[in-house]
Symmetry: C3
Subunit: 333 residues, 3 copies
């Protein structure tokens, strides 16, 4: 049985994915149905009819209510059943759970756990994604692997050199040591790498127009369980400029024991109005994400076939990932 | 481990499906091979060679005998092995089980359980399916769901309104209360619904030619575990006529824990010689069955992923289904 | 849990399959990566990076070393890690297992078990496969069945009559009794069948040009667990000649509990330079192997669905197969 960090906010969808039709997602093994009421508010309910457990996401919306596609049990946006076929009386217990929902920074967040403890102020922020001074491309790729593999992957970027060569990886990434800091009280992990004089990979060369070697900053800020941000900066070597900034954001949302939603977004503070740069970054980052997905899907099949307690060997590059495991274990207990 | 009602007759095939080639089916997890001998008699044997358990249904028939496709062990219609490769002596125990078989009302029935208790007179009847005064269309769809979901489905027709709108469902089906009777001694469940003034759905309008509202009778008679009959009648509202009759028959045959044979037939006592009506009813009822199959396959995947003891909430429409569960539990213990 | 014969040599590949790119195979549930160093030597290492268990077979070779495709951990041909990303120090335990390898008779053999007990002289031989006086065709088909089913299959050739009619089977194979000898000390099983006057199946008729009935010798020599040889000879009935010889070799290599590598080769001492005969024998024997694969894949699905301790009934033709089971059980304990 997989342990999940409960009493936590998770990204369940982009706001743009939720509208007047029903969307089914599963977060931490809880099936959730999402839609938007006529006044634009996003709603998240348990995705199982109380009657015979038919998925409400296979149903239809009528006047802001979900009408179960099997026998017509009808639910309001608060989860209360308001109509039962063949009778006037509605059983007192006919109600599906409703999830706390916050729409922020382009995401729909839901709270998994005891709703009484849900505090919207605790949701970590990624303000660049909707900042008018920045331009963002984003997507979501389903991952057929446990979410911990994505956490490991993102906390150690030395893999860029080997898995993402020709996109974002160059030899300097794996060669350059990292510094790691953990803020145990706030539950944040910081991993930083500064490459003073590095080759400029196509991802940055083609989007910024830099022609030559770069100074490259990778500053990771991970707020377990869900929000990962890479504050990325590149500048031509020796030029005393603040450089080009990208805010690379991942939402790491566990779905089931062996599947994860891999939300990804790239915001930039340059060439904001250039659609060719947007297209390039969208395609390029999606390719990089799919390279990770392919590798992690392979790794999941390997690990799923292993006996429990298989061996690993950790080295310096794993410092951030091990800290993340420790925080996640604490949150999941 | 799924419990099945044993010492019971089950529909394993239509008579037309069984001929001079071998047909493999699995009933209540028992693999069965079917064929017809030269004199037209249907034979049902255990579908596993005694030697190395190769499926006899992957073999061939030679002179009314099955010759195993792997090493040639040969079986007569009674299941006795009559030839073994490489030797004259046939081991005394070389025999596969033979199932009691009755061909009746277009179906091949087999008896699952102790053959000594098999009583052909106990097989429930659906005489309209072969009555010259009636015309029948029929088929079988495999269902990737436990058979109990099909029992639930057929015992509560209020789902016609939501799942089969535009075919057999109208609002009145779900709105009209039912009456349920259980004959515990004979093991029969009756569920009835009379709609005095209802819209006429396309299934009945196009087949009968009725143009306008109807009185509609649905009288279910279910004889667990296998035979379900819906005595259906429609007549124009206010016309004092006996109306148009359809006998809608289902054979609910458990195959494995998560699969079921869904036999269906529609017999009518009108437009008997009109092939266009036959074609229409065949296509329309098959579509309705496939709508059920799609919904129940979804529900099976949901339930299979749930922990045992998931919650349901039953209401009035479930009275027949709950009675069926009770009878089936008694028969399976 | 399947038991495998350990401390044994197994065929893992043909020599021609192993080169300068990486090949992943699994033998007795041990994942192995194979490649050839610049000097032509075949190398077999455990196919899991010590760091996070990424399959090394999904990596690339650089200067005779494997560079893990995920984070760049680098391994020499002896399995020792020689480079770790982001640091100079290489942990003392950073090493993957190396398997003893012998290339012989066209095969790559690996030793599964304690390498200290690996004795190359214990590898059984099939010298015809690389003898200049013989011509060989060969291939490998993956089997989705436990290896024991292939052992059973090959030790009892009476199935040729039923499964391979029109290729290598005629009625005489199943009709003719066998003689079986077991050399317990050397661990070899011999099964022989001599058909004095038999139909000549197409496999032999078309390759040898014999037109008429034949005397046919089948002399099996099985050295568990892996090497099976059928010394096959055919000659026209009554002609006092030594006949046409074929050496039909199988490598039976367990992969996982339900999968097996089925290596097959046919060597002949006639028409050595006729490519049409080579093409014919390749296609024909591959067809025969695929007929076995299809039957055994069906049988595996049957047995996997059965409770443990299912019943079999053994007869004379099974004498060799039962002896093989006994030797394999002894080797696996």
């Amino acid at each position: 049985m997989t342990a999940y960090a409960r009493n936590q906010w998770y990204i369940v969808a982009y706001g743009r994915e939720v509208g007047s039709s029903l969307l089914g997602r599963t977060v931490c093994e809880e099936p959730i149905v999402l839609y938007r009421t006529g006044d634009g508010r996003a709603v998240a309910l348990a995705d199982r009819c109380v009657h015979r457990r038919f998925p409400l996401s296979e149903s239809r919306i009528d006047d802001n209510r979900i009408v179960c596609g099997y026998h017509g049990f009808t639910y309001g946006p608060d989860g209360a059943c308001v109509s039962v076929p063949g009778q006037q009386r509605i059983p007192r217990t006919a109600r599906v759970s409703s999830y706390p929902v916050v729409e922020q920074d382009s995401f729909i967040w839901v709270y998994i756990g005891d709703p009484a403890t849900a505090d919207p102020a605790a949701i970590p922020r990624a303000p660049q994604l909707t900042d008018p001074g920045w331009t963002t491309v984003s997507g979501m790729e389903p991952l057929a692997a446990r979410y911990q593999l994505l956490v490991d992957n993102l906390l150690d970027l030395s893999h860029e050199t080997y898995l993402h060569g020709g996109y974002i990886g160059t030899p300097e990434v794996a060669e350059t040591p990292i510094t790691t800091e953990v803020d145990d009280d706030r539950g944040v992990i910081y991993v930083s790498r500064r490459m003073a004089d590095a080759a400029c990979p196509p991802f940055y060369a083609k989007s910024t127009g830099i022609d030559g070697r770069i100074t490259r900053w990778q500053d990771i800020e991970y707020q377990p369980p869900c929000l990962y941000r890479l504050h990325s900066r590149v500048a031509p070597v020796g030029e005393d400029v603040s450089g080009f900034h990208m805010e690379i954001v991942y939402g790491i949302t566990p779905s089931t024991a062996g599947s994860t939603y891999d939300f990804w977004a790239v915001a930039r503070d340059f060439a904001q109005d250039d659609p060719a740069v947007s297209d390039f970054l969208y395609e390029n980052n999606r390719t990089v994400v799919l390279q990770d997905v392919a590798a992690l899907n392979i790794l999941e099949r390997v690990l799923a076939a292993e006996p429990d307690g298989y061996q690993e060997l950790s080295v310096n590059i794993d410092t951030g990932g091990l800290a993340a495991r420790r925080l996640l274990a604490r949150m999941s207990s």
